[in-house]
């Protein structure tokens, strides 16, 4: 087994086996994806995972307790025909067990009043792991459409400061409207390339890097993702993600916390990026056991990542019943 050096080490796994070709045909995936799943999970679990990708995930919402007491939201929604069940391991998370024909989840008065945000369960977790406090000056590096930004604002009870960056005009507009609807008042939005933060000369106490990714974890929600992305796309995103790690590292205070997350499940967009971060910068990975996650992958084919990467968190549709997701919490050690 060889120690992971850079992304080129992961290209060698792409020789498709007979099994991956068969499964790719059966489940309508690309060969290279199956080959990677076989290396991640082994045969039996790959089948479990592939089967779970055909089962739609339950919709979930995050209750906004800045605006409503969550018990009252459940009751108000019940009167409209929605049945909400609390998710034990997510403080503000609810599953929609039953919904009426009308109104849709995004068209209730409660939605317009900002009482809830429609959000995948796993994507609610990074904000909790950031542990935002009113003394924090937080950078949200890829903020739109604002699910996690509004959640951080909620957890800070509108105190402290969040700087949210978004380059795209339409996505920045969506971010702004979601901040307004959810009643979040402690965010400053800059519409710019995220590189701009390196020119501001500001150091942040905490950073959320919910990185752009190929969304390989969203296959149960977006079936077209089975065929829409090539391995080159993944390699390209790895470059973007490591660049974002560089940027985050240059503006994070010593002792500060960086939460890295993606809605992808490939090691190229996750463990490989974290390996890059811990080998280049003085980060340690923090261990959290609050959530029922799977461990970060440290052995992948004949490639070995650092053992501490096991502390990163993975979420899967076939194990946690969530979208596929990856989170790792890094702390910048003081020199």
């Amino acid at each position: 087994m060889k120690r992971y050096q850079d992304i080129k080490d992961l290209i060698g796994v792409l020789r498709s086996s007979e099994l991956s070709k068969q499964l790719a045909i059966k489940f309508d995936f690309r060969d290279y994806m199956i080959e990677r799943y076989l290396r991640m999970f082994g045969k039996d679990e790959t089948l479990e995972f592939l089967n779970s990708c055909s089962i739609p995930l339950s919709k979930s919402i995050r209750c906004n307790d800045l605006k409503v007491e969550c018990g009252r939201l459940v009751e108000a929604m019940r009167k409209k025909g929605f049945v909400l069940t609390k998710v034990k391991w997510i403080p503000h998370g609810y599953i929609i067990e039953k919904k009426p024909a009308r109104p849709s989840l995004g068209a209730t008065i409660e939605y317009l009043m900002g009482y809830y945000y429609i959000q995948g369960l796993a994507s609610m977790i990074p904000a909790y792991l950031l542990e935002p406090a009113e003394t924090d000056f937080i950078l949200d590096m890829a903020a739109a459409p604002g699910g996690k930004t509004t959640q951080i604002g909620q957890l800070m009870k509108n105190r402290g400061n969040i700087l949210a960056i978004e380059k795209s005009k339409s996505r920045a507009r969506a971010l702004r409207e979601n901040l307004r609807r959810m009643g979040i008042e402690n965010v400053v939005v800059l519409r710019s390339d995220v590189e701009v933060v390196t020119k501001l000369g500001i150091q942040f106490s905490k950073i959320l890097l919910d990185a752009p990714c190929t969304a390989e974890g969203l296959i149960p929600i977006k079936p077209e993702r089975r065929k829409s992305r090539s391995f080159d796309d993944i390699l390209y995103l790895n470059k973007v993600q490591t660049r974002l790690i560089d940027i985050a590292s240059s503006v994070l205070k010593e002792g500060g916390r960086l939460v890295y997350s993606t809605c992808s499940i490939g090691v190229e967009e996750n463990e490989a990026v974290i390996e890059y971060a811990i080998s280049k910068y003085n980060y340690k990975i923090l261990n959290f056991t609050t959530f029922p996650s799977s461990k970060g992958i440290v052995e992948y084919g004949d490639v070995k990542f650092s053992d501490e990467i096991e502390k990163c968190m993975r979420f899967y549709p076939h194990k946690q019943g969530t979208e596929g997701f990856f989170i790792c919490v890094l702390e910048k050690e003081e020199k």
Binding site: L112, N161, V188
Partner: protein
């Protein structure tokens, strides 16, 4: 293009206009927040808690040095329509608790109001601008009022249905 922090005197002038239109007392709004004017396509005033605005000023200063300005700060207090400053949706609930011109509607009428429909209601009011709430006193939007015989026509001006219409 203008983007700057406002003086207390400037803010008080604008607040006076809004207080007069909606019969409010918004004094503590000025005491607790800093205000920022963005005068681009539409003039907008943002507010941010004074307790935490030091870092906001820092962001403005640093971004100005590289020819940038924030797209959005805190919440929107007011926006300019013609020559008039109108309160924004972001401060709607706050105004419910601090203003007199409040109109309560039942759920059926609220749905029509949020879909931008004009309503004819069997009541008269002695004001021309009102804050529409549901039976739980929750903010739904702003409306202008017109007398029609012994009834009132309620014309939605800015309401929470905006979030549905804007498609975000």
């Amino acid at each position: 293009m203008i983007f700057r922090k406002m003086t207390t005197a400037e803010v008080r002038d604008i607040i006076k206009q809004i207080e007069k239109s909606y019969l409010c007392n918004l004094g503590d709004m000025v005491d607790n927040n800093d205000f920022y004017l963005s005068d681009m396509k539409t003039a907008v005033i943002y507010f941010y808690s004074k307790k935490f605005s030091e870092n906001v000023d820092l962001i403005i200063e640093k971004s100005r040095s590289i020819n940038l300005h924030p797209l959005f700060i805190g919440g929107i207090f007011a926006y300019k329509r013609g020559r008039i400053w109108e309160p924004d949706l972001d401060v709607g609930q706050l105004l419910v608790n601090k203003c007199g011109n409040v109109i309560r509607l039942n759920e059926q009428l609220i749905y029509k109001f949020l879909y931008g429909k004009e309503l004819l209601i069997k009541e008269t009011f002695n004001f021309a601008k009102g804050i529409v709430v549901d039976y739980n006193m929750k903010f739904m939007g702003y409306a202008s009022l017109r007398k029609v015989k012994n009834m009132t026509k309620l014309i939605p001006e800015n309401d929470l249905g905006y979030y549905l219409r804007s498609g975000h």
